[in-house]
Symmetry: C2
């Protein structure tokens, strides 16, 4: 728990979740065209097609926070676009159009900017998305890149965070932890896997892992009906090679950008078989959705059960 030392709290006192809760209050209830506003991976909007929803998301990437000044600009571009694509994947959607805002120092080499753009463009193109506009501005200190992305999804296939049902299996794609060793700059957004999933199986809830498994499980729990808990098994968590056997890294490291989803356990066997024929990406059942007053719990290898706190990455709390 962070203590509020001042009468007027600063951003660091509220943290990212707390701040978003405050801002949601200002924006207020959304109108008729807005199915889901602030609080899921994307906003969900009613456009003119009665069979589809529009998806809308944005994500900023800042020098010194999300990448180092020495990281290859092509990878920085890829990462920035891929983070947004991952949000579209989490809703079961396809990306359509992106706009890009870039803050640049005056002395930045034009080659750096062109390579950044080549990376943005490569990630967009790989998943059928088009960069259709953008704007640049000058900054004095740290550079930034913001992508906003519009996608779409069939109304019958959309996957929200809050749809988990008691009894559901909890599954995760890929392996977790240690993303900072390299994966965070070159990961593959799970668009193809998500599209296949929502086309073939009745997925109840889905989110992409951006802030760490523990944090994102809490986000899913908070979006779920009251009394629903998520129970995962330490022995089942797929730990990435980069995390070197460190369970804590797999539970709490951010920027995995894998999919976390729930569905009725009777589908799991068929899903696993078909998945293995279709993808090389791992798919692991890590737990169950339960009736519980604890939102997220971890079952240790010895069978003991303990609440799992959200200790993933928080920009503002991180020192």
């Amino acid at each position: 728990m962070k203590r509020l030392r001042k009468k007027h709290p600063a951003v660091r006192d509220l943290g990212e979740f707390g701040l978003i809760r405050e801002l949601r209050g200002i924006v207020g209830s959304s109108g008729n065209s807005v199915v889901v506003g602030i609080g899921d991976d994307c906003a969900v909007l009613r456009g003119d097609n009665p069979h589809k929803y529009l998806l809308y998301t944005c994500d900023p990437v800042v020098e010194g926070i999300h990448y180092r000044p020495t990281d290859p600009p092509r990878k920085v571009g890829w990462k920035t676009m891929a983070r947004n694509l991952s949000d579209i994947a989490a809703m079961g959607g396809v990306p359509r159009w992106a706009v890009v805002s870039i803050g640049l120092r005056r002395g930045t080499d034009v080659r750096w900017v062109k390579q950044l753009y080549a990376g943005l463009q490569a990630a967009a193109k790989a998943f059928g998305c088009q960069i259709v506009g953008g704007d640049t501005t000058r900054v004095r200190h740290e550079q930034f890149v913001v992508v906003a992305l519009v996608g779409e999804v069939e109304r019958s296939r959309i996957t929200l965070r809050g749809g988990a049902k008691v009894g559901d299996s909890i599954l995760v794609t890929g392996t977790l932890g240690g993303s900072l060793r390299g994966k965070h700059l070159s990961f593959t957004p799970r668009i193809c896997e998500a599209r296949w999933l929502v086309a073939h199986f009745p997925v109840h809830a889905m989110i992409d892992l951006s802030d760490g498994l523990s944090s994102d499980l809490h986000r899913m729990a908070e979006a779920s009906p009251r009394g629903i808990g998520f129970e995962i098994h330490a022995a089942e968590i797929p730990i990435s090679r980069a995390a070197r056997g460190n369970l804590s890294a797999a539970l709490h490291d951010g920027e995995d950008f894998e999919l976390l989803f729930t569905l009725d356990p009777r589908h799991v066997t068929a899903l696993r078989q078909k998945w293995a024929r279709r993808f090389r990406t791992e798919l692991t059942e890590i737990g169950r959705v339960v009736n519980s007053k604890h939102k997220v719990a971890l079952i240790q290898r010895d069978g003991s059960r303990q609440p799992l706190t959200a200790s993933g990455y928080d920009h503002f709390a991180a020192s």
Copy 2:
């Protein structure tokens, strides 16, 4: 003219226009759903409604560049949203949905952020736009706010930059220059005026004045067919009170956010009469679209004619 002193140019050497030209080359030709990509006030997209286009734009605002740290945060929020609304106005459209990315220092007072959001929300709400999502991140130095905005416009009413015809009258709303004395933080985006205009008159070309009349006339000229020139009269330029009679300020200052448009001169009398009954905002005919090898020319009060160079605000060239 800026000289390229290094083998590999920096952002400052190309300037904002040059940089955008370079990046446009990387993004390449746009697909079937993209009517206009990079290079107008908004991207123009074919959605599912055969009678409408989607409009899509984004615009970054940076502390120390677009506002001072001491400026009231509510005004900073208003300005950020209004800049984007102005881009939608320039296409004759209505704004629908916005997403917001904010970069914040850890020590920023939460009240500052809430007031910023209140300003964003006030501007959005005033013009029927909804803030549907967003993301925050930490920065170490200058804070930033990026808004991305989706709007729509009837296909029959869209106004692009490049549609001017020889013989057209050139008109401008409001008064120009001196925006930095205050208007830049509290201006009214010309959504209502633009919507009325495109509903009642066949506007050929339109742009919003973001970088200064001279620069934005050059943007319009560059988007127009070859051989088309824009001739404006010094005596007709509506100079704002804040510019204190300074023609140069009215020609070159940025952030006026007024509308510049062209239409057949036979409509001008009717337009003026109806406009005066409908709006308090000034409307001034400032010149003509002509056959000319000079893209933009200024007719002085003594009748002499000289090329008008684009010397509006350029983030990267500005020292």
